[in-house]
Amino acid sequence: MSAPLRRLRETPRHLLVCERSHVRHERSRHAARVRGHAYNCRVSFLIPECGVLPEPLKSVTTDMGEYYLVKNLPLHELVAQEFISAFVKTGSCYALTYNTRIDQDNTAALLPTGKLILSVDKDTYEELGLQGRPSRYSGKKVMRYSADGSTLMSYFSKHQIQAHQPKITFSTLRNLQCPVLCSNELQGKPEESCSAQELFEWLGAVFSNVELDNKSFSFVSTYCCPEPSTMMDQAYLCTITGFILPEKIIQLLDQLCAYFDEPKLAQWVTLTVHGFADSPVSWRENEHGFQKGGENLYNFVVFRSLDYWLQMAVGANDDCPP
């Protein structure tokens, strides 16, 4: 009887990788990490002690670029000669199937390196006779396969193609309790600064609009801001939702670092990027699955001194981030 009870107390498997470095360090891999995570569906940044967004940041956020939705596109069009020469060879092309669930349906993703990754269920795999390998997260019965294919694409004018702009929302949070962080101490020092994990959870609470003070009548959450913390008058939160390219995220990150060129009240700013829950790959070609939640996200905390913390998190059916 005790085994199921013990299992109930455990949380589902999840991984959080934290690393620390400096933005201008020559061996800093922050740009490589951002470029490795190809499919991003939501980018948010939080600037404490800021009421109005500075102009350069504003212009970068509004210039996130369009993305296109093509309906009912047969995959073989992705493998036609014209498309490879027109799009894949000339620049980086990103594509991901939309409205398919990774644990049920067939999903395809086109990486900027020109690789087409297919995640298919058992029936499709056997019908098509693809060359591939079983997914690592199917358990004993193998149900999902990944296959690589060379990519070729063609123009989509004969299919229904729509251009979309990413949705941007801005908000100013008032009277926010923020944890105190020390850039040298990833693990936090008791009574002096909070650890990276505590910051990660606090950020999640802020993004979900959860009350941080554990009021007695609140049924939703008993979460409290980690100590030591300070009370901030205001903080600026901006969220961009859509299909966002890593290059734009690098530009945003550079602008956030430039925010500290002038003296500011804030000690640190954060940039959080969420990947698609249904994408077949997370970083580079690491496999991504959906057990009960398909999170694969990363978070930068950039300090005034341009030190940064990078936290990469994945859920249950995922390979460890790099």
Partner: protein, 253 residues
Amino acid sequence: MSQSSLYNQNAKLGYSTVAINHVIDFKEKKQEIPKPISPSELLPSLPIIPGKLKPIKIVTRLTLVVSDPSHCNVLRATSSNIRLYDIIAVFPKTEKLFHVACTNLDVDLICISVTEKLPFYFRRPPVNMAIDRGIYFEVLYTPAIKDSTMRRYTISNALSLVQICKGKNVIISSAAERPLELRGPYDVANLGLLFGLSESDAKAAVSTNCRAILLHGETRKTACGVVYTMKKPQPVEEEEETLPACKRAKTQV
């Protein structure tokens, strides 16, 4: 009609396949097994799962509640309507019948009682034989939603099943008659954790195991699961233009 709202709710929650169950209880007077209702008669158009473009798939299922060995004879009859159902389940009420169901009967599912204390204990040999034959055990969750005493029985019966079968070959299904009694697939997978299943077994209980049962049911319509015959519609004979038999092409020797 309440049935169509049930299927709509299923599609909204994210299920891609639904089985309509017809229960036959042999304790009552002699019952005839009716032909299964075809889904197109039930609903003019199947609801589409939000987020996908396919409609949900509806399959038919028959559950036989057996409390006497003579009730099992209907499964051996070749001319009855039993063959037309996609899935056949049996609900044994005694230990002997449970043993027979696990070892001999040609069924896809064995239902586990969740509304009363188990009348018999599960033993490992018949359960292992059932697992080898590809038979799955079913636990219902809707009685647990309705009543707290049944909740206790559901959890304790399911825990004893999972202890013996080690989490293999278990599915969790609703016996919902109303849309309010349905729960989403990930919630049901979480409920599986309470029954002692591991994370991956619990997820399989609502996904891969159910697909396996459908395939097992299909093998009953085929020869050993390898060859499948289908009646070809006969073309209407035309008056002229039929080749006389002697002009048929000679085959190579």
